[in-house]
């Protein structure tokens, strides 16, 4: 069963095409990685799914009555707000009860404790978010997203600029959630996500989707349209694509 169906979505910012006729169907319970160059429209696509941006043309359907669990890029985050970790996580439980004089229930609080334990951040509960490291903040944001009991989890660069221990923790969590939730992971970290994901989509204004998860040279070259250096991730050669899509010659 497809949980997300996107049909011919285009988004224009003025004259600039951010997304061009993007179509994809995502099966329930899959873990999909989205890679692509900066400005390739990754964040735009997510914002469309979240309802933050209206697509210029095209349509999409999300077959879930719960809000999407969204984990934003933590380094875009305003950390000066006077709030403690446990209060941030509790916020996630507001999704189903938004009544006047809203108060968090005992169940909400118990659930937040459970989620904190799952993320290994229970000892940070009373810490101000301004006192958190990048990796800790990222775990808090994931915990908050899990509080909504989402069917779909979308993460925007969750492992960018955090230490390798936190990164391993987060990837391990994905392995636990795999199959139970549909996960969309945006990442620059092509090499390290390939072992976790079921399938991969490359987005550079247009979308190239590979159901089997194999990252081929052609996939990457098509998406990036320019030389991609993935030596750092243990791939023993530099991908030099043939500029199939009318790319520029960088030599």
């Amino acid at each position: 069963m497809n949980i997300i169906e996107i049909k011919d979505i285009s988004v224009n910012y003025g004259n600039v095409k951010a997304l061009d006729r993007v179509s994809i169907s995502i099966k329930k319970g899959t873990f999909i990685g989205v890679i692509g160059p900066n400005g390739g429209g990754k964040t735009t696509l997510i914002k469309v799914l979240l309802g933050l941006i209206k697509p210029t043309t095209g349509e999409f359907h999300i077959h879930s009555d719960k809000p999407i669990g969204y984990v934003p890029q933590f380094n875009n985050f305003e950390k000066k707000f006077p709030i403690t970790v446990c209060k941030v996580i509790l916020m996630g439980s507001m999704s189903d009860k938004k009544n006047i004089f809203h108060k968090y229930t005992k169940e909400d609080k118990e659930k937040s404790l459970k989620v904190m334990t799952l993320m290994g951040i229970e000892d940070l509960s009373e810490r101000l978010i301004s006192q958190l490291s990048g990796g800790q903040m990222q775990k808090v944001l994931i915990a908050r997203a899990l509080m909504t009991d989402p069917d779909i989890l979308i993460l925007d660069e969750p492992t960018a600029s955090i230490d390798s221990q936190s990164r391993t923790d987060i990837y391990n969590l994905f392995n636990d959630l795999k199959g139970k939730k549909t996960i969309i992971l945006i990442s620059h970290d092509i090499g390290s996500i390939s072992s976790y994901i079921d399938s991969i989509a490359c987005l550079n204004v247009q979308l190239y989707f590979h159901e089997n998860g194999n990252l081929t040279e052609e996939t990457i070259s098509k998406a990036y349209g320019c030389p991609v250096d993935i030596i750092a991730h243990g791939v023993p050669h530099r991908v030099l694509p043939e500029h199939l899509k009318g790319g520029h010659n960088h030599d």
Binding site: Y70, P72, F81, M91, M94, F101, H102
Partner: protein, 267 residues
């Protein structure tokens, strides 16, 4: 001074005014500091000058004109901002100046001697009337009720607007409500501290409280108390030395900010 408070209506008004002003500035101040809408709020306050001028020209209560102009500005900024690429900062600057310019024109068109605008620009807590108090009381009730009845919504909205939207909170509606609350609050405070000084009264207490608070509710409560201390202290000093009250309150607040900055550094 206690004698004066017991014996004189104007001193009683001033003290009640200081209490109400502290509640209003504490709440709205904490919100606009977190939302980073400080210049925007100042712009809305200044735009109300046009309404004051209009009131003088057409011979009706200038404060009602101020409400009209500030509410109009607070609705225009987000509405135009959604439809153009100009940006709310630029729009604020334009409406800020437009309001002031219209005010000056209206006053020039007013027949007879030009009225003294100092009390609107700089305020005077010692001259506020019962009518001012009632206006402030109504606005304080509206602001407090709106905040308390949806407190967790406001907190989510201020902390992470995008997340609040995704979990189904009507953030665009809250934007408009907040603009409206700012508009009515600044006008309610005009007679006390004046258009020009309002923004200082709104931003200094939360700036000090931010040095040490660990929650948004404490930010608001402490801002209210700090605002109250500054207003009463400023009022006392201005009473004894017979100097302008609005300016005195602001200087007291700034001195307190500088002291707390050093205390924060020392700890």
């Amino acid at each position: 001074m206690i004698d004066a408070i017991i014996n004189y209506q104007f001193m009683q008004n001033a003290v009640v005014g200081a209490v109400l002003a502290s509640i209003l500035t504490g709440i709205i101040g904490a919100i606009i500091v977190e939302k980073k809408w400080i210049m925007l709020s100042s712009g809305i306050a200044h735009s109300s000058f046009g309404g004051i001028g209009l009131g003088y020209m057409l011979n009706f209560e200038p404060i009602y004109g101020a409400f009209l102009f500030s509410i109009l500005a607070s609705l225009l900024i987000p509405t135009i901002d959604r439809r153009t690429e100009t940006g709310s900062e630029n729009l604020t600057a334009m409406l800020w100046s437009l309001g002031m310019a219209l005010g000056i024109l209206f006053i020039a068109f007013t027949p007879g001697y030009p009225p003294d605008m100092t009390s609107y620009l700089f305020g005077n807590i010692l001259t506020i009337s019962m009518k001012n108090i009632i206006i402030m009381l109504i606005v304080t009730i509206i602001v407090t009720t709106t905040l308390l009845s949806f407190y967790n919504h406001w907190k989510a909205y201020l902390f992470d607007n995008e997340f609040a939207f995704i979990i189904g909170i009507k953030t665009i509606l809250m934007d408009y409500i907040l603009y409206f609350l700012i508009a009515i609050s600044v006008v309610a405070l005009i007679k006390l501290v004046g258009i020009i000084l309002i923004i200082a009264l709104m931003t200094i207490p939360p700036s000090i409280a931010r040095f040490y608070v660990k929650s948004f509710s404490r930010l608001i409560i402490d801002s209210i108390f700090l605002g109250l201390i500054f207003s009463l202290l400023g009022l006392t000093i201005s009473y004894y030395y017979n100097i302008p009250s609005g300016a005195t309150i602001i200087i007291v607040s700034i001195v307190a900010y500088i002291i707390s900055m050093f205390i924060k550094k020392a700890i």
